[in-house]
Amino acid sequence: MKKIKCALIGSGNIGTDLIYKIRRSEVLEPVWMVGIDAESEGLKRARDMGLKTTADGVNGLLPHVATDDIQIAFDATSAYVHAENSRKLNALGVMMIDLTPAAIGPLCVPPVNLREHADKLEMNVNMISCAGQATIPIVSAVSSVQPVAYAEIIASLASKSVGQGTRANLDEFTYTTSNALVKVGGARTGKALAVINPAEPPMIMRNTIYCETDDSPDQAAITASVRTMITEVQKYVPGYRLVNGPVFEDNLVSVFMEVAGLGDYLPTYAGNLDIMTAAATRTAEMFASEILAGKLTLKPVEAA
């Protein structure tokens, strides 16, 4: 079966884990890995896994886009360089899946709103953050039952699973995730907190979701909605698991989740890596299937 050829930009933890996820896909094929350091572990690994590589950033990829028929690119660099990467690749008709907190395109959480992005022929979709992918489905599950005045989430990440990009840009992580709790999660206001824990052995990613409802929560309906949503997420992240809750105290709904990864690039504790790369892959697959079915044709975006 024909597959859509993909480029991965950024050879850190996320880019490397993406190779494993995309290689398993029935509709995607990883072809290029773009880095900035020829000696980096990430580029070396990509070469070993059979990808073409360049250490010249996105500019090193541009001459090969047409000849290698690259149609989808995943950007796992940083919020600061994403805009430029996206502009250059969109101009060549390459669709961007943005895994940085840049959020210049619409925000995507697959079980919540993937379908509407595919219908709109978006050329850039943003995957928010690992914490966003792990928590927004639950916020959405609650807000689909009744109005949520405020959603607050806490993501605890194993230190070994948090790369330099996230560490150096925690504010962007906070802003992008908080905003997405509202835009995608459906809460009226939102706040995201991140904690990096260095315990050995590393702790599995944990996420706590608090939702404050306007009226007394409909406990049975919310519990059912949350459980259904967890099943949806488990379709692409099997290690997405409810630890405690939903628990109810006045108008506060609390849900305690754990996310174990598949152990592709980093061990299973790094569920934060998996939920991001798996969500990005699922998003790309939706677009790829549309392209393969002839329902979607990517077009170059003229520079504004």
């Binding site: 605890s156 230190s159 904690v195 315990a199 405690n244």
Partner: protein, 349 residues
């Protein structure tokens, strides 16, 4: 009496009643009470005092509790009343942001503790650089210092110094460090950091060592010490400032504060304000014994009452799992899991 080797040493005290003390008050200190306490500290010639939600900027949340006012309201009310004291804030990256630091600066804060877990200094470069750009007195604050060794603390302290921190703190958030641990950590940092960089120590009194550890830190080269009047702070509290001031007076350490005024303040203002007497008791001692973040004390007591698990058991389990500051959600989670294992909670809940 033996003459003190520290005679003439200069130390800057930094009061924590209106930040760490917020934890002991479940974030319920009013703006009026803050102004009253800050004014008394200013009159007692305390040179620095911290004013924010207990978890710092961005702290108002379900996770960390909601204060009676915003940080900006607290800071601006206090800052305009100060005649000599500098108002500082706490900023933990991942919770607080640079936007909030800008607001705090505009409200009158001129010093900041940029705090990270003791192994995660590299989450602070943006915030430290931003604080320096604002012209703030900038501290890198290594929390839960007992979870790193002295060599590791040096490495992390050097990172913070390289980002622009003018002071690096060893922060014994769990009140777990023994005096020899403090001496080693501060000595190594003093040797490794530039002579212009100050070293600080922030203790908790969970093992009754708040004052002794602060003195050990001074002896090893620390020149900034966090403490709070009557120890108002998380767990068994911070080093009680009036006690530390009295000890420093006896040793000839120069602090510039009015010790009698602080003693009066402890007795007449702070202790009457306490919801519970902040002291070493079974649960706060457990924090120091097991190495648990001091702020976990009151949420653990609440979870204990709700799920029927003794607070000490919950705290010991949190220590075993190496939970750190900011993971307050894991207190209820852990209590629920323990309650289920003990047959006190329905498996479906």
């Amino acid at each position: 009496m033996v003459k003190s080797k520290l005679e003439g040493r200069k130390v800057t005290f930094h009061d924590m009643c209106l930040r760490d003390g917020m934890h002991a008050k479940r974030e319920k200190i009013s703006v009026e009470q803050m102004v009253e306490i800050a004014t008394a500290l200013d009159r007692a010639n305390v040179p620095m005092l911290q004013v924010t939600h207990g978890a710092g900027l961005g702290g108002n949340s379900i996770q960390h509790g909601r204060a009676l006012a915003t940080n900006v309201e607290y800071i601006s009310a206090v800052a305009k009343k100060m005649t000599q004291a500098t108002v500082s804030v706490l900023l933990i990256p991942g919770l607080g942001t640079m936007d909030e630091l800008d607001e705090a600066y505009a409200a009158g804060a001129r010093s900041v503790h940029v705090a990270t877990h003791s192994t995660e200094a590299d989450t602070s470069p943006q915030h430290i650089a931003h604080a320096r750009k604002l012209g703030m007195d900038t501290t890198g604050f290594l929390m839960m210092a007992h979870l790193n060794d002295a060599a590791g603390l040096v490495e992390q302290g050097k990172l913070m110094e390289s980002y622009g921190a003018q002071t690096v703190y060893v922060t014994d958030s769990a009140g777990y460090m023994l005096t020899d641990d403090v001496t080693e950590a501060i000595t190594r940092l003093r040797d490794a950091l530039s002579p212009e960089t100050e070293i600080g120590f922030h203790g908790h009194h969970n093992l009754g060592l708040g004052v002794a550890n602060s003195i050990a830190a001074i002896a090893a080269g620390a020149s900034r010490i966090d403490a709070s009047v009557a120890g108002l702070g998380a767990g068994a509290g911070n080093a009680p400032l009036e006690v530390l001031a009295a000890v420093c007076d006896r040793m000839g350490i120069v602090t510039g504060v009015d010790t009698f005024a602080l003693m009066d303040m402890a007795e007449d203002v702070i202790v009457p304000l306490m919801d519970h007497i902040v002291r070493v008791d079974r649960e706060s001692l457990t924090l120091g014994f097991a190495g648990v973040y001091s702020t976990f004390l009151l949420p653990a007591k609440r979870a204990s009452a709700r799920f029927g698990i003794p607070a000490r058991d919950i705290l010991i389990e949190l220590g075993r799992q190496k939970m750190i500051g900011g993971q307050e959600d894991m207190i209820q989670d852990t209590a629920m899991t323990m309650a289920r294992e003990r047959g006190l909670l329905d498996a479906a809940e």
